[in-house]
Symmetry: C2
Subunit: 282 residues, 2 copies
């Protein structure tokens, strides 16, 4: 298989279609090809015959960076089928005003996903917790998916679908505790893995999450090649990325500002819990 | 001015339009409002009357995460006019396959920008180094912009436009040295600032860059509130984000794979240098 040779394939010049995506896939494969020759039990890139099936939920008001961090890593994994899934194929406006296009409706989304993923957002996400069309979709796919995952407040959606009951999980720090209302055990950590659930903290945690999952699916060397290609060697300008570090004043204002949002998220979680209990009784 | 009161504005429930973008802007303003009451010389959020004018270049094959990191931070700064600029208003497909829409053509782009920004990419970016329509646009806007900035190989575009001659600058590590061909002084650092030029390293450096620039434009407390709201407290899964850390084998394969790309970028940089020297003589 020529992609597994240790010679990098020649790059055609002036080809708009040859993007970093293709480069990175080949990088990872070529690195792995050599690892295979050197290690006793090499990780193989997607040893199965089918592409890795990934469905990433999108919805009006979702946080774009929650999606683009992991989406970037997943596109670098090669041999994937990544769908951006929503109720319809209408354009979806993200939190930053950038609009993207979903690629599959709920009905078109493949079964037996390798990864089901939910990004977070602010009030639009809380609103979706009460949307049976969305929670039914997540519950149905999540029951069969190999990995059920989220970034930021995406975990509230997984919770509202009944997918985190009895699981350790995390979320954006301002609503992390709300997960308990839906039967999850909130954990203060950047990325929380419990059996096949992987939930990550706020917004920027999607890059850490994506690389960790890439390591599970493609091996550590593969994930390291992606991390180097994306030059993920962060240098945050301030010690302000968590309430522990940001200092009392900055933390108080961010927390106070989100107080109403947190209250609404908690109420939605309680409604979800009642609904889920009722469904269990039936 | 009510936005500067220390009371966070009430959140209307179930409002699709109230996204994290609006929340964050208000967070930062409310935090700053209080800082203003406590500090002797408070940083003010955009003290000018005009919104902060930001133009971010987009083009077929650009790296989406290069753009979305800083774009997310900039949208959180409030009182901004952010344009995604390309030759035409046709949809632009990024490196991951996600297509976005530009919001202004080169001709529609405002003059006297506060921030001119170029994202990177792989071969499409190198191709653009020879595109006079693009380099003329960057040169013209860059001459008058308050800050001239890039993430990843976006600095190759700034260089090809003659904007880095005599400046210290950085890029993605595989092509950082190529900047020297266009009269810049390559520096190994996550974010490099020299006078009004700010260039950042590969892909994920855009978040570090965005927060640093937010601190310049809106003050440190403002930037810290954004960092906390985005929960930017990174935990890379591996020590693999730079050639120094990734180990010899992973680094060799990523470097070898990019060898042809690096060669093509160098050739484009040399052509740009010859062209720029000719223009100077005229």
């Amino acid at each position: 298989m020529s992609l597994l040779s240790d010679q990098p394939p020649a790059l055609p010049a002036r080809d708009h279609l040859l993007t970093r995506r293709a480069l990175l896939g080949a990088v990872a494969l070529s690195a792995l090809g050599t690892t295979a020759g050197e290690a006793a039990a090499p990780a193989m890139p997607n040893p199965g015959k089918q592409p890795t099936r990934i469905a990433m939920l999108v919805y009006p008001g979702f946080t774009l960076l929650d999606l683009v961090g992991p989406h970037t890593v997943f596109t670098g994994m090669m041999h994937t089928d990544i769908q951006l899934v929503w109720k319809s194929k209408s354009p979806v406006e993200s939190d930053t005003g950038i609009t993207i296009q979903s690629t599959a409706t709920f009905d078109e989304c493949p079964d037996d996903l390798d990864i089901l993923f939910a990004p977070g957002g602010s009030l639009p996400t809380v609103e979706l917790m009460d949307d049976a069309h969305v929670t039914d979709f997540l519950a149905r796919k999540g029951e069969r998916a190999r990995w059920v995952t989220s970034v930021c407040t995406g975990s509230l959606l997984l919770g509202a679908a009944g997918l985190l009951k009895g699981y350790r999980a995390t979320s954006h720090w301002v609503v992390r505790d709300v997960l308990a209302e839906m039967g999850a055990r909130p954990v203060e950590a950047r990325v929380v893995e419990d059996r096949n659930r992987i939930t990550a903290g706020g917004v920027t945690a999607g890059i850490d999450f994506g690389l960790r999952l890439a390591a599970k699916l493609r091996g550590e060397e593969y994930a390291k090649a992606l991390q180097l290609a994306y030059e993920y060697d962060p240098e945050p300008p301030f010690a302000a990325g968590s309430p522990r570090k940001a200092g009392e004043q900055v933390t108080r204002f961010v927390r106070d500002f989100y107080a109403s949002y947190t209250t609404q998220a908690r109420a939605a979680a309680q409604r979800a819990q009642i609904r889920l209990a009722r469904e269990t009784v039936k």
